[in-house]
Structures are given as structure tokens and as C-alpha cells.
Symmetry: C2
Subunit: 157 residues, 2 copies
């Protein structure tokens, strides 16, 4: 019998629970096609001193490295919790086809995580955020895009 969405979610939550017991953050994720898990990871922020090492990011990085492609269309990502804005961005860039999760940003907030806060901040104009985002004009602005558009050797992604 093929594993169901609920089976994969239970596995992601088990990874998250095991990670807490090992001193890590309470998040786990799996990337799946059909009934095959191609990559999985728990949160590695503390272990790796890497603020980007969320379970979903690590799973995407592992899968892309195994499959040697930045295009993960056709795959489903299972996560113990709703992906944060960083991980949502990674999901769009990697063209993952479907995302399934158990807890959400409100549950994460109750456990002390800032996902919901970042979802609020991202909607604001750049100069209205808690972290100031400032656009400054320089004469060199846009040269890289002009070169990119003209390039005959580029690989779009």
C-alpha cells in the first residue's frame, strides 16, 4: 500500500521531534515524488550556525544536489509546519508542485518563532519595515541586467 499524505506528514513530524531531542529546532521536511522520498532534513540552524538551514531549505538543497537540477517541478514537499517566507521563496524558485503541512504560522508563533511576524513585514513597503530596506541609486545600476539580457550563454533559472 502506498504511503498517504498523512504518512509523510507523520514522518516529517517525527523528524522534528527527534531533532528537538538532539538539541535542534522543531521542524522536519521531506521531498517526495510518487511514493519515493528523494530527500529529507530536520532544521539545522543551530548545528550548522546557519540561519538559512531550515528543514525545507535543507531538503531542497539536498534534492537539487542529488538530482543535479534547480528544477524540482513534479515533487511534493511535506513539512511539519507551514513554510516561512524564506522557505516559500525557495519553493517557488525550485518550482516544487505542491506543499503539504501540519502546524501553521500561528502554532509556530506560540512556540516562539517569528514566521507570522515575517509574513507581516514582507507585505510592507521596503522603507516601512522593522529592518530598513533602502534603495540607493548608483551610476552602475542595472549594468548586470543589460549584460544578462544580451548574454548568449546564459542558463535561465
Amino acid at each position: 500500500m502506498n504511503p498517504t499524505d498523512k504518512d509523510f506528514l507523520a514522518q516529517a513530524i517525527q523528524m522534528a521531534t527527534d531533532n528537538v531531542a538532539a538539541g535542534g529546532g522543531p521542524f522536519g521536511a521531506l521531498l517526495v515524488k510518487g511514493s519515493q522520498i528523494v530527500a529529507a532534513s530536520a532544521n539545522q540552524v543551530v548545528a550548522d550556525h546557519d540561519p538559512t538551514a531550515h528543514a525545507e531549505i535543507m531538503t531542497i538543497r539536498k534534492a537539487a544536489n542529488i538530482l543535479k537540477t534547480f528544477d524540482l517541478s513534479g515533487y511534493t514537499l511535506y513539512s511539519s509546519c507551514e513554510p516561512c517566507p524564506m522557505c516559500l521563496g525557495a519553493i517557488y524558485w525550485s518550482r516544487i508542485s505542491r506543499v503539504v503541512y501540519a502546524s501553521d504560522r500561528k502554532d509556530a508563533a506560540l512556540a516562539g518563532f517569528r514566521d507570522a511576524h515575517i509574513y507581516q513585514e514582507i507585505k510592507l513597503d521596503p522603507d516601512q519595515r522593522m529592518i530598513p530596506f533602502e534603495q540607493i541609486d548608483v551610476p552602475q545600476k542595472g549594468r548586470e541586467f543589460t549584460d544578462w539580457i544580451a548574454s548568449t550563454q546564459k542558463m535561465t533559472y
Copy 2:
């Protein structure tokens, strides 16, 4: 004479331009404290087969690895272009204090990049997005957060 915001931006744009010449994506970033550059990277998506390897993510990962911390408060990130939602998330998680950029999401769209599209998608309810985000309930839901809240050995991040 100390380098100015415009000097650091020009350097980020130069990295982006050099990266295009080398076959990579048109983006560069630097992380700075005072007048000291602690880490820098161009976009590495194609070279690394890594959809998360944006210039800002790579710069944050390098700096965190060098400094052995996931907390980059006090640092300024200079980027050739406005950070995408993924990179914005990474900036918030790493507590970077200030972000400065030259081109923005509209310029990136003209060059064929989906930053502005992802900014639109992230505002939508999860089940209204082009990539479906589905919350499914399972009996195990939230165990990892209960354990995390009870843990006496956790390092919050």
C-alpha cells in the same frame, strides 16, 4: 577615506556583472560592518545546481560560517538588487540590521526574474496560490512544539 554605501553597491554590481560573464545569474551581495566586508557572493544557482543559492543567501551562509553564529545583527547587507522573498526571510532570521540595494523587483522582472510574482503570491492565502499549500491535520501535529517548549536544553534562534 571610508567606503560609502555607493561604493559597496558598486562592488556588488561589479560582482553581478562578472558573474554574468562567467555564465551565472546577474546578482551580487556583500555583508559589511563598519568599513569591513565579512563575506560576499555572486548568485550560484546554476553553478551549484542549488535553487536557494542566491547572492544574499550565499553571503549570509558564508558570514555565519565564518563568525560561527546565526545572529548577524549589527551588519549591513548590500545587494545589487532588492532581495527576493526568500532572501528577505533569511535577512530577518539572521537579524541583519540594514539592507541597501540598487535595482528592484520591477527591474528584475524586466530581466525575466520572478521576484515580483513571488511577492504577490506570498500575500495570498495558502490555498489560493499558484503552488497549492495544503494544511492537513494529523494526530501527531504539534508534538514537536510541545517537546520544544518543554525542552531545557534548547538554543532559541
